[in-house]
């Protein structure tokens, strides 16, 4: 298989494209955990809602280039707005409660969101085609490659850099990092920590929804699409380290390559291999490759 550079090239590109799609989802999950210390089981459900919202927006605008952009951004905005209400009205009451209650709350959201999605859009399977400017293939020298997958390969790193820039180079990012380190101190210094928490939850949910909208053209949209994606996102953030953005980027790359390459070389056992990897990381380095150990873990 390695003898054929064309096939290898396509596999590498496929891995990268999948990894970037997964990264966008995992980034939101790790952001929420990093600041709120909440493991968000509903993140997969947010991803699913994003895909359906994009579907509906495209139904109105027609499958145009502008419709696609509106679909992705609109899905993020609408999911963000819903997340804001959920966070303010319900989740915020649980911040000083046990982790378990927070975790079960997000599990309840999974159940509720899944059924609401079924009520609105039905149980059938939909598909979204790529926008006109990303249809077909482009010749990359070694081999032709689908434009949409290539677009994901480029969009992922751009989003990663944008989040990095926001976190490391802006005032808001500094406040977020401070909230991650010591929220009591941040509050004492006069920052409205409540607002920070809302913002982070909304941003994380919006990222998940945009990830879902972007995933829609390369996979089916159905009410079961959330259940495995959340486990993938968990694997990524565990590998990279809960709360670490760089970690989730690297984690996404590892899982992306394992999934695509594994499906060829390990056949159907690739999915098992990814769970083994999650187990091994948790045992050897529970804080992940790029996380920091803290007192809660040991």
């Amino acid at each position: 298989m390695f003898a054929n550079p064309m096939i290898l090239f396509i596999q590498v590109m496929n891995s990268f494209s999948l990894a970037m799609n997964l990264f966008i989802i995992a980034a939101g999950l790790t952001l929420i955990f990093g600041v709120l210390r909440i493991v968000n089981f509903a993140h997969g459900a947010f991803y699913m809602v994003g895909a359906y919202l994009a579907l509906s927006i495209l139904g109105v605008t027609g499958n145009s280039n502008l419709g696609f952009v509106l679909g992705v951004l609109g899905a993020g905005a609408a999911m963000g707005a819903m997340a804001f209400v959920v966070e303010r009205v319900l989740l915020s009451q649980l911040y000083d409660k046990e982790h378990m209650l927070q975790l079960l709350f997000t599990f309840a959201l999974v159940l509720v969101i899944k059924d609401v999605v079924k009520m609105i859009w039905g149980s059938g399977q939909y598909s979204i085609s790529a926008p006109p400017f990303l249809r077909g293939a482009v010749n990359l020298g070694i081999s032709p490659y689908p434009k949409y997958a290539l677009f994901l390969c480029i969009a992922g790193p751009i989003i990663a850099v944008a989040i990095w820039f926001f976190m490391e180079r802006t005032r808001w990012g500094r406040i977020l990092r401070a909230a991650r380190e010591d929220r009591v101190m941040l509050n004492a210094l006069g920052t409205d920590v409540k607002l920070v928490y809302s913002g982070v939850f909304v941003a994380g949910a919006a990222l998940a929804a945009m990830g879902g909208a972007l995933a829609a053209p390369r996979s089916a949209v159905d009410p079961g699409m959330d259940a495995l994606v959340i486990i993938d996102a968990f694997i990524i953030v565990i590998i990279g380290g809960l709360g670490s953005l760089l970690g989730s980027f690297i984690g996404a790359l590892i899982l992306g390559f394992l999934t695509v390459m594994g499906s060829i070389y390990l056949q159907e056992w690739a999915i098992v291999a990814s769970y083994v990897m999650m187990v091994v990381i948790l045992l050897v380095r529970p804080w992940g490759l790029f996380g920091k150990p803290d007192e809660e873990r040991h």
């Binding site: 319900l90 609401v116 948790l282």
Partner: protein
Amino acid sequence: MTNRSQLAFLALLFLILLAVPFMGSRYLTELTVQVMIFSLLALSLNILVGHIGLVSFGHAAFFAIGGYATAFFLSRWQLPLGIAMPMAVLLASIFALMIGALCVRLKAIYFAMLTLAFSMLVWGIIIKWKPVTGGDDGFVGIALPQFLSSPQNFYWFTLAVVSISTALMWVLSKSTMGQIFVAIRENETRANFLGVNVRQMQLIGFVLAALFAAVAGSLMSMYLRGMYPQSAFWTQSGHIVISVLLGGVHSFVGPILGASLLYLLEVTIHQYTQYWPLVMGLILIIVVLVLPEGLIGLFRKLYTSVRRE
């Protein structure tokens, strides 16, 4: 609830269960079998959650292992039930010993995540190991021994197994070991200073919880005459945690109430709408926000307010 009132409750429950097959409704008998199995499953998880204070998000793995192993031993190896079922439970306990030894090294969220990872691993293996498990389609067509083929007899068998298991768990929870479990839940550091080997005790609790979950899985596979991969999926683990929380973790009988109510609600609501998960999700949100002590907590509040008046 005091020990006496809990024992009285269990005794009353047992008497009611003895009467159920004589009420002449096959539907009721079959429904009660399922309620008993889910109650046993919830009780088993409560050894970890309520007594030791470790929340596993992968408990379904042992339920599934118990079920699949029973199915395999009965149908493929054609072992008699008296050997197949204990072997299945033993197998699940051995897995629990290995998995638990690794899991108890972690705490809180990381413990939940690792149990989740292991259960997904089990799920992945069930899905992919088709020659043994039947893969996606599940393991169908379990050969039951002759004496269990009538619903009546299966009821008596389930009642016997569930009652004995419950009695064992009760004795366990009131034993010295049960007290040590609670000590660990309340304050791990202090228990450690008292000379308790915390990890070892947690591991014992983990294995015991898995053992009884495997018994429940074994019963379920025989009841359904089959076992399905969904039984090991993370959402199934979530449902067990919900039953325990709904009933109330800090009492012995709480999980029985939680599992029973949840299952009866499911059956009832399914008659009107397919959106049972939505209802369950809303119930869970209410429990988490206003009733973190579960039904038992609610009863206790009602009881004290009635007494005050």
